[in-house]
Symmetry: C2
Subunit: 225 residues, 2 copies
DNA sequence: CCAAAAGTGTTGGAAGTACACCCATGA
DNA sequence: TCATGGGTGTACTTCCAACACTTTTGG
């Protein structure tokens, strides 16, 4: 009789303008690792699909529902949980934090955004899980337009530049980047303008998801860099 | 108390020269789906890592040990197994069939290669799993040099061409393809020649894995098409 | 008028694509 | 000598990379 338990965990990335990338962590209020920070997650119910389980856990532990969510990898080393054998199906999500207020709920003492370069010590093998998610994000943002899930629905071009620079971690030529993105015709211009801060105000754009999907079906590939 | 069981399955691709791509299937000799063809796999032992479990199952059910093996996706829909809730961590593998003779062993009545365009009806959701694996193979072969695992260690250039054409499913310009591959400097020329069949014999090449790995660490990207 | 960010074009080089002929072998 | 597949070069086009000045706004 098999004794393995199945859990799900979520690595949810959020981006705060002109700042580092963040991930969502919860503070455990049960043993083991009580008091430590960890990725939100928990055991899958017997009558619940895996996707549903992550959505539920994210809801319960942080009150959040990501705009983008997909399966990342399944971690199953024998000793990754000190109590029992637990394998974890990990999902990778993106949200715009300004649209989602966190509230820790069941099972979590607290839920917070942490800058990825100032993470606390994490429970279990969550450090390794995070690394894998980050590397997936870095790769994937270069060939699928998923970055828009991290921005406001209407954003100035410079937000997009900053986002890519932050995630990829190198500086990009503004002019070439803009030309490339624009050439895909996936951004609709709004007639709004952002006038925050100093300098010339920028036009706001909107990502046209429908257009991307119809192009993608015809074999179009998004690609940056 | 959670009742979910954890299994692993493997989608193992094999390539037979000048022929379609094949996958390895086993014939079930227990219910459910007794007598039907299915992907090799089975329940994970309590004290066994996931990778070890797939390797064991492939060994037990087909007597095979793939040259390349990596995790593909975890399938966990509630009703995918008629008996109990079973989630399956699926791996995706590549072998050169001429180096591995199949022999069905424990749990399997038979093990055979099937051409991917003449697959029998499959047990469980294995059809969907296969589709996902195939699409991963098609994508991945274009940006990682994994195709060499499907060929003989020493192969004439035309085998590589055929392989890519078979997998991607469109015809490639021989001259440009060769130029591209050669430009990476990852193929070592042997001084052997293949004289099978008619026509001018071709030189045999060997993929230089070490060289690829050292380049990859320095940020080199393999890319075809 | 100064500071700050937005907006825009041109040019040279590299890489990709299209394309056709000669070569070595066995029958 | 013919049929079969192996081996190679060139010209055109497209894409990418490098690069700097002008515009709009607020203070």
């Amino acid at each position: 009789m098999q004794k393995i338990k199945v859990s799900v965990d979520g690595v949810v990335f959020g981006y705060f303008e002109k700042s580092a990338l963040h991930i969502l962590l919860i503070q455990r209020n049960i043993e083991p690792f009580k008091g430590k920070w960890a990725l939100p997650g928990g055991l899958v119910h017997d009558d619940e699909d895996l996707d549903a389980a992550v959505l539920r856990e994210l809801q319960e532990e942080a009150g959040i529902r990501p705009d983008f969510l997909e399966q990342l990898y399944t971690f199953g080393k024998v000793d990754r949980d000190p109590r029992n054998r637990v394998i974890s199906v990990v999902y990778f999500g993106l949200v715009n934090p300004s649209y989602h207020k966190l509230h820790a709920d069941t099972d979590a003492a607290d839920a917070r955004w942490f800058s990825i370069d100032q993470l606390p010590e994490l429970a279990f093998d969550h450090e390794a899980i995070f690394e894998k998610a980050l590397s997936r994000l870095r790769t994937k943002i270069q060939y699928e337009p998923i970055g828009f899930n991290l921005l406001n629905t209407e954003f100035p071009f410079s937000d997009l530049e900053d986002l890519y620079q932050t995630i990829i971690g190198e500086s990009i030529d503004r002019r070439n980047f803009r030309k490339k993105i624009m050439s895909y015709g996936l951004l609709d211009e709004t007639n709004k303008i952002r006038k925050e801060g100093s300098g010339r105000p920028g036009k706001l754009f909107k990502f046209n998801k429908e257009k991307y999907q119809s192009l993608a079906e015809k074999g179009f590939y998004f690609e940056i860099k």
